[in-house]
Structures are given as C-alpha cells and as structure tokens.
Amino acid sequence: MERDPGTCRCAGPWRSVNAMDVLDLARWQFGITTVYHFLMVPLTIGLSLLVAGMQTAWVRKGERRYLAMTKFWGKLLLINFAMGVVTGIVQEFQFGMAWNAYSRFVGDVFGAPLAMEGLVAFFVESTFLGLWIFGWDRLPKRVHLACAWAFSLATIASAYFILAANSWMQHPVGVELVDGRPRLTSIWAVLGNSTVLAAFPHAIAGAFAVAGSFLVGIAAWHLWKSSSDSAVWRSSVRLGAWVGVVAFAALVISGDQQSKLMFRQQPMKMASAEALCHTEQPAGFSVFAIGDVVTPDCENVKSITVPALLSFLANNDFDSKVTGVNDLVAAYQQRYGEFYPVDPRLGELSGKPIDYVPNLPVTYWGFRLMIGFGVLATLVGVAVLWLTRRGRVPRGRWFPLLALAGIATPFLANSFGWIFTEMGRQPFVVAPNPSGVDGVWMFTARAVSGMTVGEVLTSLIALTLVYGALAVVEVFLMRRYVRGGIAAVLPPPETSRPDDDVLSFAY
C-alpha cells in the first residue's frame, strides 16, 4: 500500500496537498538550520584549539598574560559553544524527521559515521567541556589542561566524522547496490574517501581563519582603546593575524586540491561554479559578472576573464578542455535518465524532465564570494600584522573598525563555500560517483519525508524564530563580555585569594 500524500484523512494545513511545497520548505529548513549551525561550528573548532594552546602557554610559562587570554577567549568560546551544541541536535534529528526516504536509502552507510561522531566525539566533548568549565582550581593544573585538549581535539574528530558522511553524499564509495540501496562494504573506504581527505583540511583551515579574525577584530579594538592589559591584546592580535594568514595559505592549497578532485567527481558542480555553459579549451576563469549569468548563454555578462585559469583549476595545466554545462547535461541524461519516475510522492515533479543544472547564479556567485571574502579576511590579517609591527598601534578610528569588520569575512566565506558545494550537488542529494557503483545516487526530490505542509511550516517558522532570537542574545552577550575585557573574567590578583569553601566557578 503505497501512501499517497494527497489522500491524508486530515484537514487544513495538516494535509500534504503539494509535495513540491513540502520539498521546498524542507530544503529551506535544512539550509537555514545548517548555515546557522555552521556559524557556530568553525568558531568553536578554531577557538577551542587556540584556547587550549593559550592555556598550555600559561601552564608552561606561568605568565598572567596567558591566563588572562585563556579566561577571556575561553569565556567567549563558551558563549558560542552552547549555541553550537544545541543547534547540532537539530541537524541529527532532521535527517529522520524531514528526510526519511533519504535516511532509509543511505542508512546502512551514512548512519555509521554519525553514530561514531556521537560515541567518539560528542561524549568526549561534552564531558570534558563540563570538567574544564567547573574544574578551574579544583582539578590539578595539568589535568585541567588535558581537559581543554580533550574537548578541542574532540571537536576536530567530530568534524572529521561529519565531513566523511557529507563527502559520501558528494562521492559515494565503499558500497555495493543490494535491493536498490547502497550497502556498506568498506568503512575504511568511507573514512578514507578522497573527498573527505580534501574537504577536512579545507574545513579545518576555514575554522582557523574564523578564529583568527575573531581574535584580531576584538583584540585590535581593545588594543586601540585601552592602555590596560595591552600585553594580552597585543599577543592576541598577533596570534590571530598569524593564524588567519597561515589558515589562508592552507585554504588555497586544500581548496585547489579539492577543486581538481571535484572536476573529476562532480563535473557539473564545477562547471556550475564557473557558470560555464559551453565547453572551452583552454577554459578561462571569470572574476565577476554584471547581470544574470544564466541568460542568454552564460557568456556575454562575464567581465575580466583570466585566460586558462579554469583549465589550471581543473587539470593543473593551461591548455586542457573543460566541459561546459550544456554538454554535461546530455551526458547526465544518458546516464541517469531524462525524466523523474511517475510517483505521487514526487508531486509536481512526477514524470517531469530532470533539470541537471544547479542554480547557476547561486553556484557562480557562491564560489566567487567564498574566495573573495577569504581574500579580504587575509588582507585584513596581513594589514594588521604590518600595522602592529614592533609594538606599534595605529591611533586612527579606522583601525578598530577595519579589524572588527574583518571578523565577518571568514564567516561569510565559510557560509558561501558550503552553500556553493551543497547547491552545486543539486538535483542530487547523493551525487553519483562517475567511477563508482551504478545506481548509488538519489535525487533530492525523492529524499523528503511525506510530512504535511503544516508540519514543515511549523518547524521552519519555529526554528527560524528561535534561532533569530538566540542570535540576538548571543551577540548581546558576546558584546558585553568583549567590552568587559579582562576584568570581567579575571579578578585583580590581590583579591583572588578564594575562600576554600567557595567554588572558583559556578553557573
């Protein structure tokens, strides 16, 4: 008895009258909740490790400056960490709630890294974070420091597992097809997927770029404003700027590797990144476009084209051919079909032609904004390194404004990068592996649960409102603690002789 979503015996908005609406709403929900979640994640990952490093410096050298840095940046880390944790639960539940056909299809493979993430990473992260927060002055110094490293490294482990899961959706490996569903044949192939090996360094470098700019922006403002604790702020600015610049180098190298891989694994995504409608040899890279990149034929709106650069990005040379969207469409149609199957669960898409071209304006601009904001973040970092050389501090008001505005750039670069790579995979949720097992791919339209419009609308609105409100609260608290400076997190030395009975930290 195949369920027809149109015949639900319920009334009003709780009827799934239009499968398209459900699909669109579910996609918006996944997009909003994921992009939002990924605002917290890179800051948590990058800052966790930097704070663990600061605490290590304090334990080894005993300078108050490092303690102050650990406490100050640690407090901002905790404000952010809480949001990352709670918005992460939504991600795990959402697969089953809104994408149950997807979950059934991929469960044999995709569930494993998710469960490992929980069992290996989340338990360590949550337990040792708790120990770290409450363990100040209670645990031996080195044990307390080990707790910081434990939860920091757990965030890295967590990133690896979830990126392995995501990379499998981009490039399914290690499976066979049994009864129309992929079945895991090698967990090592999934965890060692070439896609995750390229995506992981890129994502981690992105996280450090975020943390670096965060340090630079806030510490530069303090450095400029106050004379107190200037050693703390100077160390933070220099550390953040160096981290940001090194992260950028890592981003360029890993991004280049990823792009070459992606040209082979998902040629349509990369052709869409360039909005390359026609095959070119050698292929140029356009820096920006004025007008709609889709019409009339993707070409005459593009400005400033760097000759042969796309050939280099794809194949490491300056004369090779890069296949355009139009030629790829024909190949995809031949290999993966021209029409969606006739299935009432597909709603309006049932029996319709499959559109293999991702949303080109989104992929084209997403790719450029990712790179552009990444470059901007680095320029700010380099400028700050130069401006603060040998104990200098620029006195102009533009200095803190530049550094503070710089905080936004790597966040935006991360978001646009993810929007590009996820939208560039469409219309697939599991993209086909050109050299993989035939039949291991899934259209996004087939992945969604048969829930009602009312359900998905309720969750979309509720989550968006709650997330919006929490964003306001987080920014409000961050601002308060940033302004509070060191005094807010570290009592002056003479008063810090605690009564034995009183906890050094309590909620």
Partner: protein, 335 residues
C-alpha cells in the same frame, strides 16, 4: 545472539543511560521554582547538574545515531512520524541548554528569571516529549507498509502515550528531587527529601500504569518480573528515603529506570516499530537491521567506545561528588 539483537540491546542500554542520567537533570530543572526559593538556592540547584547535564544529553544523541546506523528504517519511520513531538523536544532542549550557560552571564534579576523559566519549562516539555515518543514507539504507530505515518501529525496524542509522557516526567521529578537531596546540604537537602517523600508514591504511578499497559498488550512472561522490580524498587526507595539514605535511593531509582527499560523494550521485541494499522507492517529487529558488515563495524566502535564513556563520565561524577551548599556559591561576577 545475532548482531541485530545485540544492537537492539545496545539501543535499549543507551535509552537506559539517557533516562537515568538526563532524568534527574530534567527533574532538577522542573523543580527549580519549587525547591529554589531564592537566588542562591536556585544557583545551588543548577550547579548540582552544571558539569554533567550536557554529557547526559549526549546519550540521547547517541541513541538516535545508533538507531540510524543499526536500524535505518526504525530511525526514519519513528522520526518522521513523531515530527511535531520531536520538534517540541528539540526546541525545549535548545532552550534549556542555552539557558544553563547564559543564565549567570548577566547580573540582573529579570535576565535570570527569564532563563529560569526557560529551564523549568524546557525541562518539563523535554521530559514529556521523550516520554511521548518513547511510549508511542513501544505501543505502536499508524505506519503503512513503507514505514510512513498514515493519519494526522497529532496521532501520537493518545491516552496511552500521554500516560507515557506523564510517566517519564513523573519519574524525572522524583529522580531530580532525590538527586538534589543527594547533592546538596541542608536546608535544601531536607526540603528536597521531604518533597521526594511526598512525590514518590504519586509521581511514579503513571509510569507503572504505562508498564502495565505495555505488558498487557505485547508483554511476555519474562517481562512481568521487570514490572514487579519497578514496583518493588520504588517501594524500597520510599522506605530508604524515610531513613535518609539518599545514595541508596538514587541507586534504587536506577533500578527503576533499568527495569522500566527492560519492560518497555521487552514488550517491543521482536518489533522495533510496531504498526497499529496492520501488524504485518511492523518493522522488526531482523527486518529493519543494517547489513551484517555495518553492524560489525558499529559493534567494534561500541565495544571500545562505551566502556571509555562510562569510565570518564563516571570520573566526572566522582570528581564533583561533594555536596553543594549555599555557602559554596561565589558572588556573581559579570561585566
């Protein structure tokens, strides 16, 4: 025993960990306005669970992840069918999680009272939501042959599943009161103990009723003792509580939680997701399991991961074992 059954047991074990651990932190959250009559005692209450609530919550996340990995159809069917209850659970968990961390970050009574309300109501809704989804899973959902829900999004709201919701929330209340009695010093300790004594006989009744319903519908001979253990352990807990032995009472509530999980998952077995439309549509342990290879991989991970988790989570509880009193609470230090 085949690996599918092993994973059914592991998932039951994860549920036990979750109910036992987060049970008391839900309870502490719900009792915040009742036991915490002033700001300092509210802070004592929150700090009893401060270092551990997040780790407790991970048991649910891992239970969900393990269900996804070991029984994809179970995860997909339950989570999509229980869409709105899970949404409520998620919103509640988001709220209380942020509230614990943010409550003390601004020194203002209004700010704190907003977050206190979020903790209390978030804990209550989350406990009810967990109970609703768990009992709906055990007692059966209207799913078709494909494992999809037929009928309204509110199909979960039946008298028997509502009993389950109140049952879990009731257990959490008692467990939370006992935990506070175990972890604090007088006068909070005495207040919590008195409350637990009055609560216990009433608040555990819905849970026992749920177990009887599940037992009468799909229980087997060997799950009756589990129901009996719940009743006996609860009675014994009440007696030990009268003598002021909070540690023993807390352990006995662990026995209640364990026997509850045995009774519920025993009644569920060999199904993982029973259909109320047609028993032929029910997902079973054997039918819904992932491939033997996936289960083997997951078994290795669990075999090394789970003992490690128990050790370091146990170490955390040991490290923070001291009772907390109002004199331990430092002055608010915020910007």
């Amino acid at each position: 025993m085949d690996l599918a059954t092993v994973w059914f047991l592991i998932i039951a074990l994860l549920w036990l960990g979750y109910l036992f651990l987060e049970g008391f932190d839900f309870g502490v959250g719900m009792l915040l306005p009742i036991l915490g009559r002033d700001e300092t005692s509210r802070r004592v209450l929150i700090n009893t669970i401060g270092p551990v609530w997040d780790g407790n919550e991970v048991w649910l996340i891992v239970a969900a992840g393990a269900t996804f990995a070991a029984f994809p159809g179970w995860y997909a069917g339950l989570f999509s069918a229980a869409y709105l209850p899970l949404l409520a659970l998620l919103l509640a968990l988001i709220g209380r999680g942020v509230a614990f961390e943010y409550r003390g970050k601004v020194d203002s009574p209004r700010w704190r009272s907003v977050w206190d309300n979020v903790i209390t109501w978030g804990s209550a809704v989350a406990a009810l939501g967990v109970g609703l989804v768990l009992s709906w899973n055990v007692l059966g959902l209207p799913i078709d042959a494909a494992g999809n829900r037929v009928g309204s999004p509110f199909a979960a709201l039946r008298w028997d599943t509502l009993l389950g919701a109140v049952g879990v929330a009731g257990f959490a209340l008692v467990h939370g009161a006992v935990f506070v009695a175990l972890k604090t010093a007088d006068p909070l300790r005495a207040r919590a103990r008195g409350l637990a004594l009055r609560l216990l006989p009433v608040a555990l009744l819905p849970l026992v009723a749920l177990l009887l319903v599940a037992q009468l519908r799909t229980g087997s001979a060997w799950t009756w003792p589990a129901v009996a253990v719940v009743v006996l352990a609860a009675a014994l807990a009440w007696l030990r509580l009268r003598s002021g032995r909070e540690g023993q009472v807390f352990a006995l509530l662990g026995v209640v939680a364990a026997a509850t999980v045995v009774a519920l998952f025993g009644a569920l077995y060999p199904d993982v997701l029973p259909s109320t439309v047609d028993p032929a549509y029910s997902l079973t342990v054997a039918g819904a399991a992932s491939s033997p290879y996936t289960l083997t991989v997951m078994t290795w991970v669990a075999a090394f991961g789970t003992p490690a988790v128990l050790v370091y989570q146990g170490w955390t509880y040991w490290g923070f074992r001291k009772r907390i009193s109002t004199s331990h609470i430092p002055k608010a230090h915020t910007p």
